[in-house]
């Protein structure tokens, strides 16, 4: 699969990364090269093979449904680039 500029622009949009128009060609080449490399997997017969999402042969454990932590507003907000009155702040989303 070769990606064109429009495809790269769409991927960047999905990934929420701003990409300048003049970078699109270069990125299209790089990403296409990577896709070409990984596409050799097509030659492997995987009929009847179940996808492996984890090597840990574990059932995810359940714990009691109770609060174990919380009430740390100041610690949670301490690293926020912008916070006000106990909340994270964002650019205005409603006109």
């Amino acid at each position: 699969m070769s990606l064109d500029k429009a495809a790269v622009r769409a991927i960047a949009e999905l990934a929420r990364i701003e990409v300048a128009d003049e970078e699109l060609d270069h990125l299209a080449g790089e990403l296409s090269g990577i896709l070409h490399f990984v596409e050799q997997l097509a030659e492997v017969d995987t009929n009847g093979v179940a996808p492996m999402s984890s090597v840990a042969d574990l059932t995810l454990p359940m714990r009691k449904d109770e609060v174990t932590d919380g009430g740390q507003v100041a610690a949670v907000l301490a690293n926020a680039p912008a916070a006000d009155d106990g909340f994270f702040t964002v650019p205005k989303v409603v006109e």
Binding site: L3, V8, I11, A12, L14, A15, R16, I17, E18, V19, L27, E30, L31, G33, I34, L35, F37, V38, E39, Q40, L41, A42, V44, T46, V49, A50, P51, M52, S53, S54, V55, A56, L58, L60, P61, R63, Q72, A75, V76, A78, N79, A80, P81, A82, F88, V90, P91, V93
Partner: protein, 490 residues
């Protein structure tokens, strides 16, 4: 006193127990050495004041008869582990200013065992790289120099390049690393030290900045097999805060170093001898096989038929997981924020400014292979091949107890090499990635020098949760290799 930095962890532990010197003296010796070797750029953040406080507290604990397993041992922490009150960067611009209000489970365990932390070690941005050249805080220099080209600056490997360089340059007695596709083992090999990626689930991932969660695993990097065994004994263990951490007891890894490997079967995978494998790598591997034979083990040729598909599988699975994990960097809750007209605009500008080119590339590949219409062709396919790769190892371990391979296809390369094409750089990890995909323990130890005087590493791979056999065999190889060479200026 500078000689204190040349001791192993085990030696320092035993000497301090006898009262030969204090944690404060040992820490001061390391702080001086760190200052003298700042040109390596191994540390992103040095925490000298904190280290002095910890050393003082350690000396008091020892006086009170409460010494822990790593009492007073000065260590470096890869800057991917969150450390309470100490800036944590993941070597990325996007985490600028981030100071965690909590301590990662693994670094917390080291502190609880009495360790002194010297600072936060440099790495490839978000642990994505094999050269430590992608760090926002600058590249790390390998303390080793090629005898044929002494002026050439060599990479320390990656992503745990700062950890490997610091341990090799004697500016930390040991260090934490993390390994997703080879990030402990390849830099250990490039810097002539020992490192082990334990079985997936052996160490808690809680508080470690996530790259690819089904692969990421913390492990120790140190100058001897015994030191790695001591550190892993402290780092490992079940943690309810990481649901993939294994609820299994932690064995006494140091006790596994019996020196007796008679009767063990050592697998030699034929697929790890690709066309074009360099003569020097081939030779050091043969030497390793000979040492094991002399010690009474039996080499057995094995086949891991899906080996060649490990790299393309990894470069679907790891970027896919990374693209999800790195979605959290939104300019909102921590780190860098670049203002924008709308919320989306702020996200895009922040992420464009905050991520380096390799990270951006992997996020975009991951986004693509997970997107509607391509998920089955790429991601699901890779997960199926991953199972075949894991099953190759399961089959092999029916015949053998441990597997021996080279760690990397070359010695450390120059900073100006392998930079043109991302796939060429990725080839560094061809021998380490299969183990990661299968979740198995893999240890790299220095086995000799190449013709230019640079270290070469060999890798031992074990069954799941059988680090003990890996350590036992590694101990025998270490004794045979007698690797006493030192990098420049040490």
């Amino acid at each position: 006193m500078t000689e204190l930095t040349k001791l192993t962890i085990a030696q320092a532990r035993d000497e301090m127990a006898k009262g030969a010197f204090t944690a404060t003296e040992l820490t001061e010796a390391h702080l001086r050495a760190m200052e003298a070797k700042r040109d390596l750029n191994a540390y992103i953040t040095e925490t000298a004041d904190l280290a002095r406080e910890q050393a003082k507290a350690s000396d008091l604990r020892r006086q009170a008869g409460k010494a822990g397993a790593l009492e007073g041992i000065p260590l470096g922490i890869k800057d991917l582990f969150c450390t309470k009150g100490v800036q944590t960067t993941a070597a990325s611009h996007i985490l600028q200013g981030f100071t965690p209000p909590y301590e990662s489970t693994v670094s917390g365990k080291l502190l609880d065992a009495g360790a002194v932390t010297l600072g936060k070690l440099n790495l490839d941005e978000f642990a994505m790289g094999s050269s430590n050249m992608t760090s926002y805080y600058g590249k790390v220099t390998n303390p080793w120099k090629s005898t044929s080209e002494p002026a050439k600056q060599l990479v320390p490997g990656g992503s745990s390049g700062g950890s490997a360089a610091a341990v090799a340059a004697r500016i930390a007695m040991g260090a934490t690393g993390t390994d997703t596709g080879g990030s402990i083992r390849q830099p250990a090999a490039f810097c002539g030290i020992t490192g082990i990626k334990p079985t997936y689930g052996r160490c808690s991932r809680w508080g470690i900045v996530a790259f690819a969660s089904s692969l990421d695993q913390a492990g120790p990097m140190a100058r001897t097999v015994r030191d790695c065994a001591i550190m892993l004994g402290t780092m490992a263990g079940h943690d309810p805060k990481d649901s993939t951490s294994a609820p299994m007891p932690v064995p006494d890894f140091e006790a596994a170093l019996t020196g007796d490997i008679r009767g063990l079967k050592v697998g030699i995978p034929r697929e790890y001898r690709p066309d074009g494998l360099s003569d020097e790598i081939q030779a050091v591997w043969e030497q390793g096989i000979a040492w094991l034979k002399e010690a009474g083990a039996t080499p057995v040729e094995i086949s891991l038929p899906h080996t060649k598909y490990a790299l393309p599988t990894y470069y679907i699975v790891a970027p896919a997981e990374a693209s999800s994990n790195l979605a959290r960097y939104d300019g909102l809750r921590f780190g860098l924020r670049v203002e924008g007209k709308t919320l989306d605009d702020m996200y895009k500008k922040t992420r464009a400014a905050g991520f380096g080119s390799e990270v951006r590339r992997r996020i975009m590949i991951g986004t693509y292979v997970l997107s509607a219409g391509y998920y089955d062709a790429y991601y699901s396919k890779a997960q199926k091949v991953r199972r075949l790769i894991a099953e190759d190892f399961t089959q092999a371990f029916r015949q053998v107890d441990v597997i021996l391979t080279p760690t990397a296809p070359s010695a450390a390369f120059g900073m100006d090499e392998n930079t043109d094409d991302p796939v060429t750089m990725w080839l560094n990890d061809i021998f380490t990635i299969p183990t990661s995909l299968a979740g198995l323990p893999g240890l790299s130890l220095p086995a000799g020098l190449n013709a230019s005087g640079l270290p070469l590493g060999l890798q031992l791979i074990g069954r799941p949760f059988d680090e003990e056999t890996v350590f036992k065999v590694a101990g025998v190889m270490e004794a045979a290799a007698q690797f006493t060479h030192l990098p420049e200026g040490v």
